[in-house]
């Protein structure tokens, strides 16, 4: 009967059945809720790179560690929370401060983004004079005191002869306090290329400024809101006739790490939590669906064989199922992961291999009841092979159960994977939701009460699982005759 028309009729019937099914399904409130939530998650998973500019793991120190979400600034207490500020001081911004002594001894060239200061004996008016040049640039800092800042610049010195000079970098606060953040003395001839880094976390710097090494330098220096100045002070000592000195400043950057960032703040290394959440969706969906598929497939196969062939085969298979069911799954999983290595594919494989037993039982009992039905008897009488009976008669009738159970197995896989990641046994290179919670637990998220770090991943796991559960529950009610009201 496999003519084209018959096949069309078959497909037609199938589509009609599917359409009917969907109409009924729409009535189920839970089912619809689940479907909507799931589609939302799928959207997030696919569109993740478009929804966030940051890499979930690679981009670190976008703000200070465990920074609050940006929208917390709506709360009056955090209105002026420091935002991540990065300022590049171009050569053109620098001006010569009038209070420099005999600054015309120095020649200042501002070209091509580089600030160059040259001096030699040529411009000296008098011997034993103090010569000093102060280059100033100012910037505005309107926020509360930050916890970390750094200043980076390059300096190339070219000296002919012997030049005696000092370069110092000061930070001046709006109220006029000067912090000598960096200095260098050049004595002998030669050239040097210096990449200077001034970081508020450096203990030697704190001590040099007379602060307690355990104090926070950034909070001290940036304690006021207003106009700050960065001052380079170059002073020159005695030079002989043939001496020349050239100081070539490259990019001068100031970076202040903020304490608010993004939609969900940052974790302990300053990575964006929202990105981690988005990319984690992919992992959860992938692992959940693949592992559930694997488990259900194996379970179905075992159930079909055991149910249909019965007697010895059935006994043995069910015995195996019983034994495996009484092994604590997570414990075995933990052990196997240490042996086999922590990567996604191992986890999917193991989840599948340890999760098929339940469905094997269920599908087996379904097969058992189907086996005795008349249409199967009829097929057998007609001489159909076992394989044909299994695949043509029994399997289609088991499929509803398969779908319902499949959907309900996915959350189990997702939950188990996140539990593994939470324990630290997940793949460390990927940002699964469980791993976010692992970081929060191990790196101080709890003692900082960083709810923006702890709640979102957990809620995400919950809502994703629930969406599958709702769908599964709706499917179950529709497809499983047992629960229908009488």
């Amino acid at each position: 009967m496999t003519t084209k028309k018959a096949k069309h009729r078959q497909y037609g019937a199938f589509f009609r059945r599917a359409k009917d099914f969907l109409t009924v399904y729409k009535n189920s409130k839970l089912g619809m809720a689940g479907a909507i939530m799931l589609s939302l998650f799928i959207f997030f998973a696919i569109a993740a790179p478009l929804l966030t500019p940051y890499e979930p793991i690679k981009d670190t120190y976008l703000a200070d560690s465990v920074a609050m979400p940006l929208w917390m600034t709506m709360v009056p207490e955090y209105k002026n929370a420091p935002r991540t500020t990065e300022i590049k001081f171009n050569a053109n911004y620098w001006t010569i401060d009038e209070s420099s002594l005999n600054s015309n001894y120095f020649e200042v060239i501002q070209k091509n983004d580089r600030l160059i200061v040259q001096f030699s004996k040529v411009n000296v008016m008098k011997e034993n004079e103090t010569h000093e040049l102060m280059m100033v640039v100012n910037f505005n800092y309107p926020y509360d005191p930050p916890s970390t800042f750094n200043i980076k610049f390059e300096l190339e010195t070219t000296i002919i002869g012997e030049a005696d000079y000092t370069v110092e970098l000061f930070l001046r606060t709006p109220s006029g306090i000067n912090y000598n953040l960096w200095n260098i003395e050049g004595i002998n001839q030669g050239n040097a290329s210096i990449k200077a880094v001034i970081d508020s976390r450096d203990i030697p710097l704190k001590m040099r400024l007379g602060l307690n090494p355990l104090s926070n330098l950034a909070k001290n220096t940036f304690s006021e809101k207003g106009e700050y100045e960065l001052i380079f002070r170059i002073s020159s000592g005695q030079l002989d006739n043939s001496d020349e000195c050239r100081l070539d400043f490259g990019k001068i950057n100031l970076k202040i790490l903020g304490e608010v960032h993004g939609l969900l703040g940052t974790d302990h290394v300053g990575s964006d939590i929202f990105s981690q959440l988005l990319f984690g969706t992919r992992i959860s969906l992938l692992i959940g669906i693949l592992a559930a598929l694997l488990a259900i497939s194996i379970g179905l196969l075992v159930g079909l064989i055991a149910g249909y062939y019965g007697s010895f085969v059935d006994e043995t298979l069910m015995r195996i199922v019983d034994i495996l069911l009484s092994i604590p799954g997570l414990a075995l999983l933990m052990v196997l992961v240490t042996f086999l290595g922590k990567n996604i594919w191992n986890i999917v494989l193991l989840l599948g291999l340890l999760g098929w037993m339940g469905f094997a039982r269920a599908s087996r009992s379904q097969v058992l009841s189907l086996k005795e039905r008349t249409f199967v008897e009829a097929s057998r009488a007609l001489g159909a092979s076992n394989k044909r009976i299994i695949f043509r008669q029994i399997l289609p009738n088991v499929m509803p159960l398969v779908f319902a159970t499949l959907v309900l197995s996915i959350p189990v896989a997702i939950l188990t994977e996140s539990a593994l990641s939470f324990l630290g046994l997940g793949d460390p290179r990927i940002s699964s939701w469980g791993r976010i919670l692992y970081n929060a637990y191990s790196f101080g998220g709890f003692s900082k009460l960083a709810w923006w770090w702890i709640l979102p991943p957990g809620l995400a796991i919950t809502i994703l699982s629930l969406s599958f559960v709702f769908i599964g529950h709706a499917l179950d009610e529709l497809l499983n005759p047992r629960l229908r009201k009488r």
Partner: protein, 613 residues
């Protein structure tokens, strides 16, 4: 050439700044008041809390009064801002380093090693991984060792250009196609160079440092491969099998630079000993032998400084950083002595435990502190864990101690001492170390402490060949006790350090340990003392008596009224009162709770009954 000079100027500046900072530390963490009489508290309670978050909470809520060894920057910052907590910080006797296997190519090439030294950005590691709370280290002796530390050594500040230059100069040409450098001897690209670190779970900072180094190395064309591995396997491969390329690890060091000998002398390049890089330099060996066997302090000090300079040239290790010891104490307690090199709450710093007292209560009371790991043994001959030392060191006293302000030797059980030379064989010179003991000392069970105990202890260790204490019996000839308060130890070797080998030894009571055949399985802390009630067989001469250890939960030591340096004003503890207090409140709780629970159950049951109708 000019660049080299300028680099050296910079290096000198950097070194002097780190030297200056060591001076600065002693001013900013002043030692405070301390006496050598004590202890003042009646009891120390070690609460075993395994992870840092609960430790921090216990400290903040007052459940404990001290949290040791703060490592996570988040903990340091949080507790630094807490007005009820005071942090004590001091540079530690610690060295975290990168080790090369100099037995293999290309690590046998000194230029290669120097180039690698230039790709390490210690400052960046300090900032990003530790938030600044460790000290970048350029020398083979940490600054905390004070006078033994030599700041004038060649250093290798982070400079990728320099690294590239050296590699190019040594003919490790960069192949633009593969991005890898070529081995000059074979002409082939360098093989993958495996970089061992502990795993992220066990030591996240070490693993991360390894990863950063490998990343930088890859940028200059060196194919380093970051390989985290199980700690025991790593120890086996590096210590026993010598099957490695590079790894990172740390050493906890002592007051003296004797580790330079045990780590870098060629005779320790055997499996099981500690010359992991396999360095065999004759000139270095000579200097190290002067360090080890030298008799006068000036002699050994000069050798130590020379050795550091040579090692910085040879680069068998690249030192990376040195930890700070940071301890957090409740501000309600005084008498904390922030000893340089060890820190305020370290087991080698007995001064804190001697002087500690509540600010309102000069004597008495209980001090509760955190213990970060459970204890496996409290047998001094077997114990290897620092946490076990935390509990055991208040129980014992040493022959000498150290003045926390001047870091000079101070008499303790030994009132004075001397080293002499003797000829133990034809033409061979050895040393005799003699200690004169105080006569007032008793064991915690009342028996007098005599030189017989020391003789027994040394001979017991030698007879059982206890590996932990090999230095004390390796060159031992005999021990003599001319009288009850003098002991002379005869050695067939010379050395300035032997004084300290025995000075820090845990002295065991002869009358307890005499009959112990199997020291490995002896559990003195679990066996009651044969004569004195309330004591176990774990007794010493120290300020505290061991009382009990509940596995996994806590340990407890109490004040030793027989301690030879007892404070004359210390009254006997009043334990009766505290127990009664406890009893009263504990009776109240069940009296209130049980009726409430009963009422709750009854209500529930009633509800059930009503719904059944």
């Amino acid at each position: 050439m000019n660049k080299v000079i300028n680099a050296m100027i910079l290096a000198i500046l950097l070194c002097s700044s780190s030297f200056l900072t060591t001076l600065c530390y002693s001013y900013s963490q002043d030692i405070g008041q301390w006496e050598s009489n004590g202890p003042r508290v009646d009891e120390i309670f070690f609460s075993i809390i395994l992870s840092p978050d609960p430790q921090k909470i216990a400290l903040k809520t007052g459940e404990v009064q001290m949290m040791p060894d703060l490592i996570r920057p988040i903990d340091i910052e949080e507790l630094a801002e807490d007005p009820n907590i005071k942090l004590f910080m001091t540079p530690g006797l610690h060295m975290f380093y990168l080790c090369f296997n100099m037995r293999r190519e290309p690590f046998d090439d000194p230029d290669f090693r120097k180039a690698v030294a230039y790709i390490l950005e210690k400052e960046e590691i300090t900032r990003t991984i530790f938030k600044g709370y460790v000290s970048p280290l350029d020398t083979f002796v940490p600054p905390a060792q004070g006078e033994w530390y030599n700041p004038d050594v060649p250093t290798y500040p982070f400079d990728l250009d320099k690294a590239n230059e050296i590699l190019d100069g040594a003919e490790y040409i960069l192949d633009p196609d593969t991005g890898k450098r070529v081995d000059p001897k074979t002409g082939e690209p360098l093989r993958d160079l495996i970089f061992f670190t502990p795993t992220y779970e066990v030591a996240p900072t070490s693993a991360e440092i390894g990863r950063l180094i490998c990343e930088r190395a890859n940028e200059v064309g060196l194919p380093f491969v970051h390989t985290p591995m199980d700690f025991p396997v790593m120890i086996r491969k590096t210590g026993d099998e010598r099957d490695f390329d590079m790894y990172v690890l740390a050493w906890g060091l002592g007051r003296f630079p004797t580790h330079l000998y045990t780590l870098f002398h060629s005779k320790f390049d055997i499996p099981g000993a500690q010359n992991m890089p396999g360095i065999r330099d004759k000139e270095l060996d000579t200097i190290l032998e002067r360090l080890w066997y030298g008799i006068e302090k000036d002699e050994v000090k000069e050798a130590a400084h020379e050795a550091q300079e040579m090692l910085s040239e040879l680069v068998p290790y690249v030192p990376i950083y040195s930890r700070f010891h940071i301890y957090a104490f409740s501000t309600d307690w005084n008498g904390i002595v922030n000893m340089p090199g060890f820190g305020a709450g370290h087991y080698n710093n007995g001064w804190t435990w001697l002087n500690l007292h509540h600010k309102d209560r000069p004597f008495g009371g209980t001090f509760k502190r955190v213990l970060s790991e459970k204890l496996d043994t409290l047998n001094p001959l077997v114990s290897t864990s620092a946490y076990e030392q935390d509990v055991m060191s208040p129980i014992f006293s040493g022959l000498l101690t150290v003045n926390p302000e001047t870091m000079d030797d101070m008499p303790w059980i030994a009132k004075d001492w001397e080293i002499k030379e003797w000829e133990y064989e034809e033409g061979e010179i050895g040393s005799i170390v003699t200690y004169h003991l105080l006569e007032s000392i008793t064991w915690q069970d009342g028996k007098p402490f005599t030189s017989e105990d020391i003789k027994f202890c040394i001979e017991y260790i030698r007879d059982n060949q206890i590996p932990l204490y090999v230095q004390s019996w390796d060159n031992l000839v005999k021990v003599e006790t001319p009288d009850e308060y003098t002991v002379s130890i005869y050695l067939n070797s010379t050395g300035y350090w032997y004084l300290y080998t025995y000075a820090g030894m845990t002295i065991l009571p002869k009358h307890i340990w005499e009959g112990v055949e199997d020291y490995r399985n002896f559990r003195p802390w679990e066996e009651p003392h044969p004569e004195v009630e309330g004591l176990t067989k774990l007794i010493g001469t120290g300020p505290f008596i061991f009382k009990e250890y509940i596995p996994g939960e806590y340990a407890r030591v109490v004040w030793n009224p027989l301690f030879f340096r007892n404070h004359p004003d210390h009254p006997l503890p009043a334990t009766e009162i505290t127990e009664a207090e406890q009893e009263l409140t504990s009776y109240l709780i069940p009296i209130i709770a049980i009726p409430i629970l009963g009422i709750a159950f009854w209500l529930l049951y009633k509800k059930k009954l009503s719904t059944r109708k």
